[in-house]
């Protein structure tokens, strides 16, 4: 059971903009307001819009519960591995082993007032990304399970 054609078309038009905005919030988490949780919630809103507009069968044909829970697990693993690598490199747990290293996200921060460089802050953007994936999977799978219960009720 899906909604009317207007709702489906509006959901399809809005989805890419919501995804781009959510990914922007996740990746600029260390520079601007927002971060992993907020960006992941915005991306999950896009998927939830799709789930509310289309029928359960057409959603599960493209997006399975196991892939969403797998994304949640992947986010948590990325978070804890990033934190644990600092222990292996001789630092403390959750130590920022990438900051000022010259590698990815390793550019030193310029002194004084500046507009902000995306390629700074070390492990913080990686952890923002991990939290974003985790929140996206968690919030989407809640609605997918709820939709499956409604589906059985109707059928």
């Amino acid at each position: 059971m899906s909604m009317s054609k207007i709702v489906r078309a509006a959901a399809c038009v809005l989805l890419p903009f919501i995804l781009v905005f959510g990914f922007y919030i996740v990746m600029h988490g260390h520079l601007t307001p927002g971060g992993g949780f907020q960006g992941g919630a915005v991306i999950a809103t896009g998927f939830v819009l799709l789930m509310a507009a289309f029928s359960y069968d057409s959603i599960t044909a493209r997006l399975s519960k196991s892939s969403l829970t797998g994304g949640e697990t992947l986010g948590l693993l990325l978070f804890i591995v990033t934190a644990a690598v600092a222990l292996g490199l001789g630092g403390t747990f959750f130590g920022n082993w990438l900051a000022n290293s010259g590698a990815i996200f390793g550019t030193p921060v310029a002194f004084g007032a500046n507009p902000g460089n995306l390629n700074t802050a070390g492990v913080i953007p990686i952890m923002n990304l991990a939290v974003g994936i985790e929140v996206l999977g968690g919030l989407s799978v809640i609605l997918l399970y709820m939709l499956s219960g409604v589906h059985e009720e109707v059928a």
Partner: protein, 83 residues
């Protein structure tokens, strides 16, 4: 200027909250709840908490409204009607 906007947002919050409680059409109440959450996120932004405003707009206006709409899809649309 910001005080006038603040007052308008607060009045809108009261009106939409009243709609949520009084509406017999549950779909209208769910949409009113979305408007309430949107105005609340605007109020957070006026009070200079943009971080909370993004979370409120994503969770309150987006996810919760969709969850309510899915729940209404599984039950009846009108309050007090039994099938």
């Amino acid at each position: 200027m910001i005080d006038i906007l603040n007052g308008l947002v607060l009045i809108g919050l009261l009106v939409s909250a009243l709609f949520i409680v009084r509406c017999r059409d549950l779909l209208s109440a769910a949409i009113s709840f979305g408007i309430f959450s949107f105005l609340l996120s605007l109020e957070f932004y006026i009070l200079q908490a943009p971080d909370v405003a993004i979370a409120e707009a994503g969770i309150g206006a987006g996810l919760t409204t969709a969850i309510f709409i899915v729940a209404i899809r599984g039950t009846t649309r009108w309050e007090g009607v039994r099938e």
